[in-house]
Subunit: 228 residues, 2 copies
DNA sequence: CCAAAAGTGTTTAATATACACCCATGG
DNA sequence: CCATGGGTGTATATTAAACACTTTTGG
């Protein structure tokens, strides 16, 4: 055990967003500081001495991207020596989910650009951030099978097909429409409204659904078994 | 973001062991240093500047308990300011599984005693270690439902009832013997030997089983769906 | 012969899977 | 009237769940 220790502690976040147009996307910043200046990276930064980890990541997200987050959960801690070329830095990572109406971004501290990238089109990233995204995506894929997911990613009201496309994007495979609907509705965390979808093209407009928040969060606690 | 940061990084481990006599148990040390001197705590300590997190926790386990570990996985990072009364310390926690034949312990550095405690009889602990054990136990409970568990906790050969009791101890509820056996054997990661259990009392001796390591680790990667 | 623990199978209920045609809208 | 996307049900296969008596051993 070392007499003195010289390790820095950072937090970084993989924030997922979803729109049917863009698919499953990740929030990235373009770094305005060394190292890896002008390269894309996950939003994040060093933790303050008297700041909780959650406060730190929320602060960094606000500073660097202007985003308000709907859901945030700890992902994993990366601490391999050498992952930061300057000093030893341990990064405690989080993953978050945001609704599309929170998509307006603004670059600030430490970042000269902010953007959403489709999960399949992520550019080369600074540090080990590529690997962190892989872990986050894997976690989300698993999460979706034992907890309801969607409330944190979709607008208040949405056509059922929107939820279906979200699940296909996360799981990265096709889903049978009829079986999916049967299964999801049986859980009872969705309410059907009488409103109809506004179309931007041809097709029969579907009814809009919304989450019953009480049931949704109850099932989130209890867990579900969701074998799609 | 702070100009300079003064946070320490530690690793701590919740090591689980299982014997049919003692049930599911956790490895604890009695602290030989301040703060919380002479109180029970999880094994762990500060990370060296050039040491990976995994190396650090393995080193601490060896130093403090003399134990060799079969399986170790990152659990969660605890970083609430004030969780250590002296300085800000962030603890990256791991949970581990060990076989009974590695149960011989020896206290060393920073510890003046080491002991196994049944999961239901854990004494009061230093820091937030009680909470860490709760999280670890919850994780193990979940893990057992989507990955085979047991190879890391049981001896090379064991009667089937041993696995069944292990699952009951982890899940903390009764299991139907016939359905459990049917289900487990169908996965195919167990091999039945012709050897019979040595008894320490009355009862019909059962055949001994052993894990087929190849299948076991394959299923560990693929994941299983284990609704007991 | 009694107590303790292991071995074993069937029936029923629930769930998962596979699968195709019609409907409402915009252009 | 064509293209697009939404809506809906049934039959079959698989899996889960409930459940009790017999066998082998030690004392």
């Amino acid at each position: 055990m070392p007499a003195i220790q010289n390790i820095k502690v950072a937090v970084d976040a993989v924030v997922f967003g979803y729109t049917s147009k863009e698919g499953l996307s990740v929030l990235l910043i373009k770094r305005d500081v060394k190292p890896f200046r002008d390269e894309w990276a996950l939003p994040g930064g060093l933790v303050g001495d008297d700041e909780s980890l959650e406060d730190a990541i929320q602060r960094e997200l606000k500073e660097e991207t202007g985003i308000g987050i709907n859901y945030l959960e700890q992902l994993y801690s990366f601490g391999q020596p050498g992952r930061d070329p300057r000093n030893r830095v341990i990064s405690i990572t989080y993953y978050g989910l945001v609704k599309p109406d929170a998509f307006e971004l603004q670059a600030n501290t430490d970042a000269n650009d902010v953007a959403w990238y489709n999960i399949k089109k992520v550019p080369q990233l600074a540090f080990d951030h590529q690997q962190i995204i892989v872990v986050a995506r894997e976690r989300l894929k698993n999460k979706i099978l034992y907890q309801p997911v969607g409330f944190e990613l979709l607008e208040e009201k949405f056509p059922f097909s929107e939820l279906e496309k979200l699940y296909m994007a996360v799981l990265d495979r096709p889903i049978d429409r009829r079986n999916f609907k049967k299964k999801v509705l049986k859980f009872g965390f969705l309410e059907e409204t009488t409103e109809k979808q506004l179309l931007d093209g041809a097709g029969r407009p579907g009814n809009l659904f919304r989450f019953n928040e009480q049931k949704y969060f109850q099932l989130k606690k209890e867990g579900i078994s969701f074998e799609i």
